[in-house]
């Protein structure tokens, strides 16, 4: 605790915590309300509350919802092995570079472009790319690339990569900031190849950040609507089904149940990430201090 905190009246500290709790409550209240409704047999807006699991049972018999969940997970798991190494390399580049501001600007720039503009820009780009490859195919007789950029999983994954890379970069960069490059040099000096030095020395120390980034990618894939809707082609994702259901018929009780499942899973994952990261950060802080001030 800082010196200023030592002299702070207890009521001020209580006020701060009270304010924080209130803010969290306000932010999370709609989610908790959705969970609350999902257990009511009589559904949204009913006068009475009868506790039930029936909506959760019917979720698993709703083929469209389960199918969209499958597509979403598939997109997340295809995106992960592409975007995580990208983010990792970008964070390493950031750490080594002297032009850090430019790297941050370039990598975070997709966040500054509105989702619908970026989505439609990608859509136009892919359509033109398709035209180009069709033309190539007509001239050369090579049809291998002709339908590569038809709307589908690949285009949706590219859209997700553009969307999730900035988050992955930031999460890994924060963890990597505490890593001391001398350790890689020491490993190289002891005979390790660059890859082995990374895998055996650096990666174990930034693992928490990489796993956090993976969890973020999955959560963001569920969260994403605009870009994925524009680029997905002929399948539905979980969010697009939920939103179309809401627009067409209003939210069904199954939708509330599914939204509750996804929200609770996301909250649990993020909480675990935060707790693990906090513990790891605390450990790293102690180690860094012990190494920097070994006599203390």
């Amino acid at each position: 605790m800082s010196l200023r905190d030592d002299f702070q009246p207890k009521w001020k500290l209580a006020l701060k915590w009270g304010w924080l709790s209130f803010a969290v409550f306000i932010l999370m209240a709609p989610t908790f309300y959705t969970v609350y409704i999902s257990f009511n047999e009589l559904g949204f807006g009913a006068k009475y509350y009868i506790f039930t699991f029936q909506w959760y049972e019917s979720v698993f018999s709703d083929r469209q919802l389960i199918g969209s969940l499958g597509w979403t997970m598939l997109l997340a798991f295809i995106t992960l092995p592409i975007v995580i190494p990208f983010g990792l390399m970008s964070a390493k580049l950031y750490k080594q570079s002297t032009k850090k501001v430019w790297i941050v600007f370039i990598l975070l720039s997709p966040l500054f472009v509105p989702a619908d503009i970026l989505g439609s820009a990608l859509l136009v780009f892919f359509k033109n790319l398709n035209k180009f490859f069709t033309m190539i195919a007509e001239y050369t007789g090579i049809y291998a690339l002709e339908s590569w950029f038809d709307l589908g999983i690949m285009t949706a994954v590219i859209g997700l990569i553009v969307y999730t890379l900035p988050y992955v970069f930031v999460v890994i960069m924060i963890t990597m900031a505490r890593y001391r490059v001398e350790q890689t040099e020491a490993a190289r000096d002891l005979g390790a190849s660059a890859w082995r030095a990374f895998w055996e020395v650096e990666f174990p120390q930034i693992r928490a950040g990489v796993f956090s980034a993976c969890a973020f990618v999955v959560i963001l894939t569920f969260n994403e609507y605009t870009r994925t809707s524009l680029l997905k082609g002929g399948f539905d994702t979980f969010t697009s089904v939920l939103i179309s259901q809401m627009l067409n018929t209003g939210m069904s009780e199954e939708s509330y149940a599914m939204a509750s499942i996804v929200s609770l899973v996301a909250i649990i994952i993020v909480s675990i990430i935060l707790i693990v990261t906090a513990v790891k950060t605390d450990e790293l802080e102690k180690i860094t201090r012990a190494v920097k001030e070994p006599n203390k």
Binding site: R180, E182, Q183, E185, A186, A187, R188, D189, L190, G191, A192, S193, R196, E200, V201, P204, Q205, L284, K286, I287, A290, V291, K292, E293, P294, N295
Partner: protein, 362 residues
């Protein structure tokens, strides 16, 4: 000590933009020699060490280790091991895993690794700590782990980059003794970078002074301390007093130098110096004798000068006097014993033996 060279550095140049980190540096380090690169921070010592270790690619020049050119070899292919400034231990590995890491990379059998690690831990005084993580060790123990980790590979040269800089004064002294003992035991060449002259003096067979990317001079600790050839070395090593002046007279046995307010006579040690030339004189603070100025005993012409005490500080083994001369230059005098009846603002007489003054060009 054998006469073969463990390391031969020729014309090494390294620049960062317009700044020269190394300017045509030449260096020979003998087999089994404890060599120290000493100089102020930012002088190029670490750049030179890292060029030898393969962590930096010089702009030009060459590095040979054991007669073999290593210019194009990365660190893992050079017969060197490095002890890093910041205890670059792997925090997620135990002490024994850290020490055995280099052998594990060589795919050596586990039981052989265990035996070697155990022997190396005994050698550096880490017995019984094999399961501990680096952050559970003291600074001295962490540094021993780094030493063991580097020495276990039995390379020809051990490079040490400011290895004791993070330790407190007493631990640093103890580690100096241990480093010297260890080097004698393993018999390989150690190249040790430091900006601490006491550390350098206590471990080195030879010392090179490096500043502004240049090799200033090399020699044994005694040569560097007692008889520095360059003005920079004289200023950097020990508590030396430097006087700038002009040569008034040169004869076979003495040189007379005008330092503006006074004239100083010094012994001529075959200096190649001419009358009228600008020179610098240096003298160690412990080589000056301070006495209270008495009317009955005036300073002998050119062999002593007058001054006024401005500060007296007790430093344990020494008493340090700051003395203001007539030319407004303040010099230091260190005496083993406190001189009786001398107080701040007293007029004093400073005297010396002629041979204690050294003459440097420029």
């Amino acid at each position: 000590m054998s006469q073969t060279n463990a390391i031969e550095v020729k014309n090494l140049v390294k620049t960062y933009g317009d700044v020269y980190a190394l300017k045509n540096v030449d260096l020979n380090i003998a087999d089994g020699e404890y060599f120290v690169l000493l100089g102020p921070s930012g002088g190029g010592k670490t750049t030179l060490l890292r060029s030898i270790g393969g962590f930096i690619r010089p702009d030009s020049g060459s590095v040979d280790i054991k007669g073999k050119n290593v210019d194009n070899l990365p660190p893992d292919k050079r017969p060197t091991s490095m002890v890093f400034q910041g205890f670059a231990l792997f925090p997620h590995m135990s002490v024994s895993e850290n020490i055995g890491y280099g052998l594990k990379i060589q795919s050596i059998e586990n039981n052989i690794i265990e035996n070697k690690v155990s022997r190396m831990m005994d050698l550096v005084g880490l017995t019984g700590l094999s399961k501990r993580k680096p952050h559970e060790l003291s600074g001295g123990q962490q540094q021993r782990v780094q030493l063991a980790r580097a020495l276990i590979l039995e390379n020809d040269v051990l490079l040490l980059d400011e290895p004791l800089s993070a330790l407190d004064a007493q631990l640093r002294k103890d580690m100096c003794i241990e480093l010297k003992r260890l080097q004698k035991t393993v018999g390989i060449s150690f190249v040790h970078v430091t900006h601490n002259q006491e550390e350098a003096m206590s471990v080195a067979d030879r010392i090179a002074i490096i500043a502004d990317g240049e090799m200033i001079e090399q020699g044994t600790p005694k040569e560097i301390y007692s008889n520095p050839k360059k003005k920079f070395t004289a200023e950097f090593i020990g508590e030396k007093n430097i006087f700038n002046g002009k040569v008034l007279d040169v004869n076979k046995s003495t040189i007379l130098v005008d330092i503006e307010s006074d004239k100083i006579e010094v012994a001529n040690k075959n200096y190649k110096i001419n009358k009228g030339q600008d020179v610098s004189l240096s003298i160690k603070s412990e080589s000056i004798k301070v006495d209270k100025l008495k009317v009955s005993k005036q300073p002998q012409e050119n062999k002593a000068i007058k001054g006024k005490i401005t500060e007296i500080t007790f430093l344990g083994q020494f008493v340090r006097y700051l003395v203001l001369l007539n030319n407004n230059q303040e010099i230091q005098v260190r005496s083993h014993d406190e001189v009786s009846n001398i107080n701040v603002n007293d007029d004093v007489m400073l005297s010396w033996r002629l041979e204690d003054f050294l003459v440097h060009e420029g």
